[in-house]
Point group: D2
Chain length 370, copies 4
């Protein structure tokens, strides 16, 4: 069962609520001998951290991560995994539970309030409890560890659509990503997004987004034919991120409009004697298994449900009501979903690398043949 | 690990290759006391069966299912599940392995041939082996059983796009589904699809499609907040179907272009004293948990990769080659994906119903309190 | 969930009842490239097959196994696994359901009849249904496949106690195992067992047994520290065999009576420069991980519950009754548990070999580093 | 995969090393609405806590547990589970890593030192790292939570053998358990154990033990026929406790010496109209499913491997050596294994209660029928 665990061999179990004392997780199955510094994980967390521009929530969380187990540290501060579970802990600092008192009785549209009451018969209304996107900080920390398992693989994400603003793919520049607060690879689009989101934010509204994650250097052969498909695991991984409503691989939904000829990724032998694909409509996955081309996936994030415009709703007690969701919210939660998407891609790939090792043929030197 | 198993509590494990002696599966976790007739499962299989119109593969497979275990039969031919695993067996009848001799050396673009060789170091080239869509017959049989677990839930699917032909949603009529060979809910669009697909088929080409699956009568409270999300499981389920490249729930990718106000599903108290949603942008799932509204999902199927137009490729031995994929193929595999999508929806929902029972609070009369 | 699945990476799912049309199973996760002949599996099944001496049930089952998927066969009849699930099917031939008519209303002491009715609200009373030891034939077939994964490992079992007859360990001779119908490694004890069991059988009674399974050639490093312990998995594996009531590793229960000095397995460097254990009280497992010494486990099998002596019981309808269990039963089910125990040891070890490969450090040549 | 997770629906994942900053765990799947106080968990921990008598290690750990998530607290300090994961944290206080400096190079006989080096290629030598029995504190905390799920079930454990001292079962008195430092139910035996263990302790030696765990009030119907057997899960659970080498249910190994007549648990209708077993040789489990009688299990704990008597060993560098294991150790680790065994019994039963609810027939009021 996987209520709160993600992955099979590189397993991430998370815990914690937005307004409890801490959030955290356990990475189980990380191979021994993986070396990293606490700063590596912290750097990943800092990309996702709230309060870094006027376009994200003003909640101030340092998101300082502690590693409680599973590593030994040398004199230089390098941590080496021992093969035992790596526990990660991030204390919550800037909770303002009183922001939520007003909404404890009414169901916020687009939030999980109503379904929690129906499912569990009770709920922790402070900040959405377990449904808060704060949980994704732990994913980012785990993803940083996963990326250390993926020697030679580069995982990067970009915001490719915000509301009505689309990027121009011909202007794609990965270097641009860190130069604007949107992880946008198109400088002009980033400028347009800034103006657009300022207006959205000031009007108390919110907007959705599409994120693209690309993994380069993935070896062919990750995945499995039927229910262990790499793309099925990616679909679940991205759909498990808060507010995500759609996932696609390669051509995705556009492939429905193509003919077989147009969609075929033809092959030729390359100059180095290796097979070469002439296109990548497949997004790096065929039959559920990686082809060796870049793995390309996109996911859609709905607009933030917490808005200042009054909406109709009902209360726990069955009365009609009107609700305005105050608090400190991201006008576009899709922005901070970029590092989360990268982390999920890294975790899924690390999991599949370990799976592939288990099924490797011929067997490795250990533990067989001897 | 879930290489060939789908689901957690309603678990479906499938086996078999397109051109081996049989395909089949084991449904483990089906509760005792579920009553059905073999004809119920057969009827579901017949909807997916090949060779029923000129628009699907002419392979003639009766797809006769046998139930090998897990049930007791009464005098009237009603089978009752006993709580032990239900094994399903479908013998392959109309294999023509020689169709595949020509392609044993060359990699078919869009197929898993190349990645199998890279992953396993060998492959069963007959009919795609494990990657053949024949495996989905077992899913349909399992889905028929799942639907018996879902008392009061109706799961239906429809083809909403074929290549460049889109349905007109204002003309949606579920009764139309069984009146055309496309599971299309719009009679006019179905007529257009027939002409369109005839041309595609005659030219030796193929085309993609989008399928929508709707589950009505789903109780609120199925799913779980983080990695046990109902929609994450649906995303994996649909993405695990052959040739699927995208999945969305409710507004899906369109939600990226909406504002928070437009996307909010407001609520009012209904005349019967129950809360009522005024819209269903969420597609029946909030925070990973069902709301009680219809669960609405769509998935995109790429065009059939087996086409008669010659394509460039390489051989196993590293030579450039050209390939034409003969054999008996569906010009639009999306059509037969409709019953498969229904089956996956039913299996996921049945799984989550069992999960919800495990976590029910207050506890049921058995086993506790006594 | 593992209602009917055993193992994590080498996963065996079984199905089937004693008196249904067939029993079978699916081995998922078997690496590609494993070569075997159908005769290898059949030979293993023949060791467990009923009706081979007067000391086992006279039910006549040929136990002919079919492999339905997951392999390709060459001209010489050698099957090679492809990495996809291997389905195994054994048809039931010699069912005599009428033998069971008398007991459909009364609960047989020591059998699962009563608990099935309490758990499921119904049961398949024919031959014990799912609880029949016939299910173990599938384990033996899967174990034969597992043993092909375990290159260099020898797994053997022996009956070391039958009722009041104990073997003399100083007379242990593995060659003796196949010379008597009890898998007994002590020729004198085997003679005594024959006389003893003849008397038991003629009196309509039954008797228990202890089986020892030894795996030689197991590399050090299989297992994991806490919940992935090799010996914990062996304990579950053996306890899952019908009628088993106890499991021990190495000194087992006797270790409770030892001091730390007596129980310590001291080490010295061997002549070949490898560390050498001077004793094996640990039974080849320390801290849940294999030491490289033989893995030694024992399990106790209770006497067959089906006996001709009348016993007091109750009926489904709440009446006191007396019951005599006719039918064709083993007077000592422990005998045929020997090949089953070997199979379980092989399956657990194969599973842990695959697990170890997943966590191997440094990583193998594929998939990484490249 | 279950490297560090135990259970299927009531899932316990633990982390932490003996000499790291903290140990802890995550309980996932605990139903919502379970009420408890922090003191309940603390009281359970205190029973296992080191340093409470001269017969256990003198390491002083307060074992103060924190609940980081998954509950809401009312004004009276009552915590109610919300259905989200419950994280437990226990900080390590009294580490003395220098005690272990001497043994970083040599392998302690009976410990996991050697196999860790062989498996992982490196190890955390401080206090046995992950293999330390400190991990069991988290099990005890989780078990206290499990026991709140088990309304009406009483789980108790007792030490029934210490080295050469056996209890007299006719003198069994549960009230005696808390009156001596051994959890011994026989006052006379406890007196003998005190003298016996004083001598063992003073001589720098150690001794093994047998623990019996009894669960009363277990409803019939927990477990499943084949690989989901209640007793198979108990066997794995107990064998996963440090230093355990054997597990038995009911008559256990003694059943091998019995006839079918002697071992049969006959039934009669009781005065209240319910079926009644006249004996409990089965230990409360038939065919892997609970009968409603007390579940009775025993496990054997080997003598503590850390002793003051010098033993022969080898170093990491392949040299012969002699070793004396100093530090603060329990002369009989079996004593503190009593509350750990109780916890494992409670966790396994809670897991099976949730499993049974998932398969309940007819279905409960929610989520079906409606």
């Amino acid at each position: 069962m996987s209520f709160n665990t993600f992955g099979q061999l590189f397993r991430v179990t998370t815990f914690g609520e937005s307004h409890g004392p801490a959030i955290g997780g356990v990475v189980d199955g990380c191979p021994p001998g993986i070396r990293f510094r606490l700063e590596d994980i912290q750097a990943a967390l800092d990309r996702r951290r709230p309060g870094q521009s006027r376009f994200t929530t003003q909640r101030r969380e340092p998101d300082q991560v502690k590693v409680l187990s599973g590593t030994i540290e040398d004199e230089d501060g390098v941590l080496t995994t021992t093969g035992t579970p790596v526990a990660l802990l991030i204390e919550n600092v800037d909770q303002r539970s009183k922001d939520y008192a007003a909404i404890s009785e009414s169901y916020r549209p687009g939030h999980a309030d109503y379904v929690y009451d129906r499912k569990y018969g009770l709920r922790d209304h402070r900040g959405g409890g377990r449904s808060s996107a704060r949980e994704t900080a732990v994913r980012v920390a785990a993803g940083a560890l996963a990326s250390r398992v993926l020697a030679g693989v580069t995982v990067r994400g970009a915001l490719v659509q915000m509301g009505e603003i689309f990027i121009d793919r011909s202007r794609w520049d990965w270097d641009e990503i860190d130069r604007n607060p949107f992880f946008c690879p198109d400088a002009d689009a980033a400028q347009a997004m800034a103006e657009y989101l300022d207006a959205i934010r000031k009007s108390g509204s919110s907007v959705g987004a599409v994120i693209e994650i690309v993994a380069e250097g993935v070896p062919p052969g990750l995945g499995a034919p039927v229910y262990g498909k790499l793309d099925a695991d990616l679909a679940a991984a991205f759909m498990s991120i808060n507010a995500v409503k759609g996932v696609e691989i390669g051509e995705g939904f556009a492939s429905a409009g193509l003919t077989g000829e147009a969609n075929a990724d033809e092959m030729r032998m390359g100059n180095d004697g290796s097979p070469l694909f002439l296109s990548n409509h497949a997004g790096g996955v065929l039959g559920g298994i990686s082809t060796g081309q870049p793995v390309v996936a996109r996911f859609a994030v709905k607009p933030t449900s917490s808005i200042l415009t009054p909406r109709q709703t009902v209360t726990r007690h069955g009365e009609n009501a009107e609700i305005v969701t105050k608090g400190r919210h991201d006008p576009c939660v899709g922005i901070r979903a970029v590092p989360v998407g990268e982390a999920m891609m890294a975790c899924v790939l690390a999991d599949h690398v370990l799976r592939a090792r288990a099924q490797v043929s011929p067997p490795p030197a250990w533990p067989f043949p001897r």
